[in-house]
Symmetry: C2
Subunit: 333 residues, 2 copies
């Protein structure tokens, strides 16, 4: 049985190119005792993957080694098993890679029930993406009723979830996104109080208008200029949640640090990060809340499912040019 | 009675120049009801003053207006009073300005007892400087017994106090300072566990050597490259205390933000500022502790007292070229 895979062959300079990978088929080997064979159906495409391609010594995970299958979270079905914990037909998610089949020891493999929700949702709102939004906002950002919450990358998978959870918790929510369509979607479909189009608006002026009392919680997915601008508009005791810096991941130069970071001091604010892995023990709490909100129509999800494993390098790039609509997922087979 | 004063006449570009000020004498006016006349004896020279000279709209205090007496904390003696709260002969500290005499409403004026300690000490370790170190380290940094604390600007007034308090609280302390003399002083006289000379050493390599378990608390006075380097060496759950960024205050370009700020996320760290004004209600707690430690010989202080109000612009510059030794104070008269 042939397993088509994307292996990393060089560390991308700037945007990912097809030539940074080798795409080929390889025979699936026999299972050893304790192992599980998974047929991958959906692959989650996440900004963090860009970081995993770099040779960084200071990241939260080792880089993907040159020659290795590209790391990715994926969902699929168990088709063979020598592990008593998993039966043929089980659906699972885990770090299964950009490929058609994965062999797993069972460690880090989570069973999911496709009768409860479509499989891609377990890669999005009911998966890492949703948990990042949920714990990043509620545990790190700690919005109070009536607070003003600003989220960047607001139309993205994490950002759109953050904004809706903040609304559910009684905060005013302002999203920053690129393009009129995305901004309309945030306000008209997701119920954001306001949206700022960073491509056409003066973000500082728009923040002053929409956040006259300042920004109590800033959930940042993009970094760069937008982070710097929001730092000038913080309310006293603000919380800045650092989730990512997608504007910087393809930069050929050093990441642009926030010039206005002294505002953290001026405003008695706190800057902290969110690492979703820290919250795995509390996953059920998030999933239960979010599944309930989805059922109640309070939390809307949108998946951008692109067919074709072989499109991986180009499809991945949609995260960076902002052309994806919702949680970006690759459908395999 | 003639009152010599430094008035700000232009906003400095880069380092402060004498031509940014007008130095002249002006008659002291008669007191109104409720006012106090103070003869200034010592003026505290602090890095923060450089920020007060800029036309920033986002600072914790309004800028000094063009034409106004330069703002500074000072200590002196009441020589006339129409305020029942203050008697002639009382010694006081407050925001009295770079001048020989100040008239105060009594608000923000603190009585100090020169029998307990020399007056300059109330501008240093027993004043704002000491409180900044005390609360910034203990309240924001929260070092635990056995933690590794790193402080930049370690031979400065705040930094040297931070390091010694951290030692008293049972932490390992590594100071970063410029020059062999300062580093020797930190280790041999103040009992730091190690000191790194950023002018001659590779700071990242030295941090790896002296902080093999990573940096639990980083108290930053300097910003710029040193902040960026320490961010790569944080321990998990580290606390970064932002107290200042003296390396950046004279910059003609935008402040250099920390490129490595995503390490806050990777290391589940927290970045917070310290604003001493927030701790005024708890001043007694700090003063009592520190006066006790000074008496017990556990906390050493060093004041660099420079005579001559008229030397203000050049003396102030010592803070930025690192040529001051300890808390920099101008003696008036």
């Amino acid at each position: 049985m042939l397993n088509h895979q994307f292996r990393l062959t060089s560390r991308p300079a700037g945007a990912v190119k097809r030539s940074d990978f080798a795409y080929a088929g390889e025979e699936v080997r026999a299972l050893a005792d304790g192992e599980v064979l998974i047929q991958i159906q959906y692959i989650s495409l996440d900004p963090a993957m860009r970081g995993w391609m770099n040779a960084s010594e200071n990241s939260y995970m080792p880089p993907v080694a040159i020659g290795d299958v590209m790391r990715a979270i994926a969902a699929g079905k168990v088709i063979d098993t020598r592990n008593a914990g998993f039966a043929v037909g089980d659906h699972v998610t885990g770090l299964l890679g950009v490929q058609e089949y994965a062999i797993s020891s069972g460690q880090g493999l989570f069973k999911v029930d496709p009768a409860l929700a479509p499989l891609p949702l377990f890669l999005g709102t009911l998966g890492m993406t949703g948990m990042t939004a949920y714990f990043g906002l509620l545990d790190v950002g700690q919005p109070k009723q009536g607070d003003t919450v600003v989220v960047s990358g607001a139309a993205g998978a994490v950002g759109s979830t953050v904004g809706q959870i903040a609304r559910i918790k009684g905060a005013r929510v302002v999203g920053i996104a690129g393009g009129a369509d995305k901004c309309r979607y945030l306000v008209e479909e997701l119920g954001f109080d306001a949206a700022i189009d960073y491509k056409t608006e003066n973000v500082a002026a728009a923040l002053k208008q929409h956040c006259p009392q300042g920004v109590d919680v800033f959930f940042d997915n993009v970094g760069g200029e937008i982070l710097d601008t929001v730092l000038t508009q913080l309310a006293m005791q603000a919380r800045v949640v650092v989730c990512g810096a997608i504007s910087q991941y393809n930069s050929l130069e050093a990441i642009k640090g926030p010039s206005n970071y002294l505002q953290i001091m001026v405003k008695r604010a706190t800057l902290r990060g969110v690492m979703v892995a820290d919250y795995y023990p509390r996953a059920k709490e998030a999933i239960t809340d979010m599944a309930g909100w989805i059922r109640a129509g309070q939390l809307k999800t949108r998946e951008d499912v692109v067919p074709g494993l072989e499109t991986f390098p180009e499809t991945f790039q949609k995260l960076f040019d902002g052309s994806n609509n919702g949680k970006l997922v690759l459908r395999v087979g």
